[in-house]
């Protein structure tokens, strides 16, 4: 059950080029948040920005009543948010959306494909998956444009999981894309499961590859989300629906997602 909280900022610091980590005190959210879920954030009382923006939950410490968000300062909202300091407050609504759940009966590795600021939900997934009996092997593929754009690599390493870094320019890890690593990991490991979050072209490549290879795959999608709570129908994604004309329907990314089975999705 989502709730609305004026959360105190415990920390809001730069991690990498334009990448920030925000720690918020919001016990009611920290108590329930699962991997893949997000919070809908607003700062200021003015109308610029007017609308909330969604951010995935990167980490939770239910005991301390706090959770972390990792975000990129891109447009007006996120650069404005980056200027806030510890002690300021931020209005958050959450936790929202569905969760990544660990797929069952996976003999091979669970492969988490994290592109750029798509890393946060997969970090929380990795953290919750660790130690569970179904998690025999966990591989994180952590890609970005350059080493400066890598997100959460240190956090993944700190979890002690296997991390394979790729950068488009070779400035860190493998010179290539997450797809190169994915093909390799899948190649030597049958019956794996894939979980992905990142920019849309990457997600599409991962999803189409997995569908073609019959590898079970879940992806977390980003769309513009005016309400985040399922009431406005502004955030829909196209999914297969044999009962509908042309075989597709629009479902809410905020409420029915953001995590979808790659099999269901239709890409334009």
């Amino acid at each position: 059950m989502p709730c609305q909280i004026e959360a105190r900022i415990l920390q809001n610091a730069s991690e990498n080029d334009g990448i920030y980590r925000l720690r918020l005190h919001a016990p009611a959210i920290a108590a329930h948040a699962g991997p893949g879920q997000f919070v809908h954030v607003l700062y200021g009382d003015g109308f610029g920005p007017l609308m909330r923006r969604p951010f995935s939950i990167h980490d939770v410490e239910p005991a301390a009543g706090c959770f972390d968000v990792v975000y990129a300062a891109r447009g007006a909202f996120t650069t404005g948010m980056a200027a806030l300091r510890a002690g300021d407050t931020l209005s958050v609504v959450g936790p929202l959306g569905n969760t990544f759940t660990l797929m069952e009966d996976i003999a091979g590795p669970h492969v988490l494909v994290a592109g750029g600021v798509g890393a946060p939900p997969l970090h929380l997934l990795a953290k919750t998956a660790l130690g569970k009996p179904e998690t025999r092997r966990l591989v994180v593929i952590n890609g970005a444009r350059t080493s400066h754009h890598l997100v959460a690599t240190g956090d993944f390493l700190a979890l002690g999981v296997e991390v394979r870094v790729t950068t488009d320019d070779g400035s860190a890890g493998r010179h290539g894309t997450v797809m190169d690593e994915l093909r390799e990991v899948v190649g030597d490991a049958q019956r794996c499961a894939v979980y992905a979050c990142g920019p849309e072209p990457m997600l599409r490549a991962v999803a189409e590859f997995c569908v073609a290879q019959r590898i079970p795959c879940r992806v977390s999608l980003e769309t513009v989300m005016p309400c985040g709570t399922g009431v406005c129908m502004g955030c829909v994604v196209k999914v297969r629906d044999p009962n509908e004309a042309d075989g597709f329907a629009y479902v809410r990314a905020c409420h029915d997602g953001p995590v979808f089975d790659a099999e269901e999705l239709l890409w334009d």
């Binding site: 909330r52 129908m233 829909v236």
Partner: protein, 306 residues
């Protein structure tokens, strides 16, 4: 003594003047975490059509200066699924349910009126005449007084429920349309629906909405909506549900002063899910501070500036 917040919308008696605006509150079921829907003056649900509607392709919305454009395209499960799947939940609350009905031809409006007439828990119909009329080459029902009269009259003839006409503000003279709706038998008027606009992405050279145009809502339209309400209040006696950019109790009071008997909260629900709670409390406080016994003491009471 607590001030009396109750108001009448024609035959409909509300415990307070704060409603949700159609399309910004879904069918209520997502709201359980924020507050008890029973606190609301009434719930107005998302537009319902005869057949299910899939809605428009994405992108459907874009933020603009102090507002947003939407082109959802009336996505809804259709009237039968609404009655079967949504009404049971809505009936649980101590709160009238206003069903917003939409159609692109007169026949569908008639069907909706007849079908919803006897459904338990439905308290009123809000007729969304902002849709383009297929039979008239896509011109909106609500921009033409004759079409407005016809739709409202036909709905009126087919239901014993209170009929609320939801007016489009995209007209030269909204009072003219309001008069047509009242003459055709509307018990109350809702205004305003969204203002039609667009957004373009200079970087890509493309429209930002798949539908090209969308409806503008939010604080940016408040000055326009407030004037529309005041003008219609001068022109007709029918009670008005005022809306358009209401974000807090002060905004709501401005609409009441302009002549609205009730107000509806739209876009604000996306930004402040608990807005209705704050607006109801804020109106009560305003009346208390001025020692006014009833919210009706401020309706339409705006005075000249000097």
């Amino acid at each position: 003594m607590k001030p009396d917040l109750s108001v009448s919308l024609g035959p409909l008696r509300l415990k307070n003047p704060v409603l949700t605006a159609s399309g910004t509150f879904g069918f209520g079921s997502e709201w359980a975490g924020f507050y008890d829907l029973g606190i609301l003056g009434a719930i107005t649900v998302k537009a319902v059509t005869v057949q299910p509607r899939r809605g428009n392709p994405m992108p459907r919305t874009v933020e603009t200066a102090a507002g947003m454009l939407n082109a959802i395209g009336l996505q809804n499960p259709g009237v039968e699924a609404f009655i079967a799947e949504k009404m049971p939940y809505l009936r649980r609350f101590d709160c009238p349910v206003i069903v917003n009905i939409a159609a692109d031809n007169i026949e569908d409006f008639r069907t909706l009126a007849e079908r919803l007439d006897q459904v338990p828990g439905v308290s009123a119909l809000e007729v969304n005449i902002s849709c383009p009329n297929q039979a008239c080459g896509g011109i909106e029902f609500g921009v033409d007084p004759t079409l407005t009269h016809q739709v409202i009259g036909d709905v009126r003839a087919r239901t014993r429920l209170p009929v609320i006409a939801k007016l489009s503000p995209n007209v030269t003279d909204i009072a003219l349309i309001a008069r047509a709706a009242v003459e055709a038998g509307a018990d109350a008027l809702s205004l305003v629906n969204t203002y039609v606009g667009t957004a373009i992405d200079a970087r890509t050279g493309r429209f930002r909405l798949a539908n090209r145009t969308g409806g503008l809502s939010g604080p940016c339209i408040k000055p326009l909506a407030l004037l529309a309400v005041w003008r219609v209040a001068q022109a007709v006696k029918a009670p008005i549900i005022g809306m358009g950019g209401i974000f807090d109790a002060t905004d709501a009071i401005e609409f009441l002063l302009a002549g609205a008997s009730a107000v509806a909260l739209g876009t604000v629900n996306f930004v402040h899910p608990r807005a209705a709670v704050d607006v109801i409390a804020g109106i009560e406080k305003y009346l208390e501070e001025r020692e006014l016994a009833s919210v009706t003491d401020i309706i339409g009471r705006v005075q000249p500036a000097v």
